[in-house]
Amino acid sequence: MTWLLLAACAAVEPAPRADPMAAQAYAEAGETELSAGSFDTAREAFREALRLDPSLLRVREALERICDAEAAPDPFEEGVRLLDAGRPGAALERFEEARRRSPDAGTALMLGICRYELGEDEAARPLLLEAQDDPLTAQSADVFLGLLALRAGNRSEAASRFASAGGSADPRLSAAASELLKLSRRAGRIVVGAAIDPRFDTNVALASDAEARADGAAVAAVNVSSRPLGWGRGLYVNANLLYRQQFSARDYDFAGAGGAAGWEWSRPALAASLEYGAEAYALGGSLYLLAQRLTASAHWTPGRLSLGGSYRLRPEDFRASGWESYSGYRHTAGLDASWHFDGGSSLALSWRGERHDAFSAALSDWETGPWILCLWRAGADVRAGVQAGVLRRWDDADETGTSLRDMYLHGEAFAEYDLGTQWVLRAGVGAYRTASQAQGGSYGNVFASVGVAWARGFF
């Protein structure tokens, strides 16, 4: 309770001479104000009524009720705070209390959002439809009704609701709705995507500086993913193909194919997944590597902050001549933290540690280092970002007790521009540099790419 409220609720000093008639008028004015929901003016009037006539018991009780109510935290504000902190279950209880006091559209909206966050879609829908009846909350309700439709696999209803909310005068709501509209067009039980990203590298072979060879390449990728149980939940499978054809250094033509299946658990503010995948790569027209991977990850998102961790086990089988000894197991662990700003921008920091247990012990190594990613949403259709990282690598000591150490520096900037709801124009430029104790092991590369990507959801 603030000192102002303490003063306003302190004992009333009676007037030297009572004035019952004026006291009655003040009491009626207080009741008028109370029915209008204005506690401050009601309290002012009731205090004056009591000052002029201390015997007015109903006025004293009304004043006490006001002071008690104001001393208690506002359940609506408490609910907003809890929801923002990623606790929709606790927020739901506070909003239900707020609804008992004042059953307005704003409270219905917040209750609907809590039910949505809790995955209680059937209970969320009538609350959001109620909020939709009030022009002040209609467009916010449309966004969440669209999310419900998206989760139920009804993409056309979702798109219609997001399009409606996109006309909001509130720029933040409008931007979120526009982004969701694009997502609804690119989402579905089956999503197909393709990209063409011509690329230029100053050192395509990652050779030492003296032997660096610049070359361009045509790069194409196709991916198909499916969520048979609906958007954002349960089983998912995906497959992808990548092909890079060098303009002149054809021995570095690269092809990759992979597939994965996983299961995602999602709870309010918490998500976890377990995924199995397999990959195959060819270099210069010959099979180079076969790998499998098992990945477990979890993320906790209490509001704007997101914290996560992951572990991946990757058995690798190098098939290229001369590379067989690198085969083995790769264990990768990661920790990340990200902060999401209004408007869709974000800042993420992560750390990665990796152990490569090659079948040939002399080729085993450790890698570790931090990474930063800044993503800036410059408008409804434009995104840009920079990312940079440092990795330190050290080999296991060989029979002479020598352990070589390398350091990798990587920096990259990129931008994307949405061409409608399904096409994205994108460009990137970056560089990396290694410093190695190994003879001739240091190299650098600068690369740039410009391309378009397309994605569409089905069903």
């Binding site: 008639m21 008028a25 004015a29 002012e44």
Partner: protein, 204 residues
Amino acid sequence: MRLRAFAAMLAVLLSGIARGDDGGTHLRAGASAFRDGRYDRALVEFRVAGRLGAGGEATWYVAAALLKLGRVDEAIEAFDAAEREAPQGRDVVLDFYRASACYEAKLYLTADRLLAQVGEKAGPRIGQEAARLRERIAALFTQPPAEAVVDWYLAQADLELRAGRRALARALYAEAAALSGRRPTPYRADAAAAGIQAAAGSAP
């Protein structure tokens, strides 16, 4: 500045109220609180004045205090009640306050009509303020209103009518009708007219 002009106006009005009249005492107390920026207290005193015999004139000042407290919807209801109860209490300064309430409630055309009547009659400072508001309103109407705008006013009016704020509902229907009339082809003018009748018919 508006505050000073309002206080001066109150002083003139209150000079006619007989000393010893309880309503008058509370009107003066309300005016004093209003002048000091204690609008909570002013509102209470004006309400008490109304109950103790100052009659409908106090309602004009209740409306002004509600506006100052940011309770725009209630202010519009109170201005409407004041006009019915004590039309003789109306003057250009109160019209300016009423126009300000309408502007805050997005009743732009109603506000503009009231501001046009205010002009310089309420003194140069209020006149300048009125002219500035009219410029802002004019800037909103460089293009004919879209259908969605008329829809919004009608939907808002329906809600206010259901909530029992009939004067505000009537004003919103009237605004919708006026907006419809500014379009190349009228849009939902019948609904606006029917709304005005419904809100007026159920008015006390």
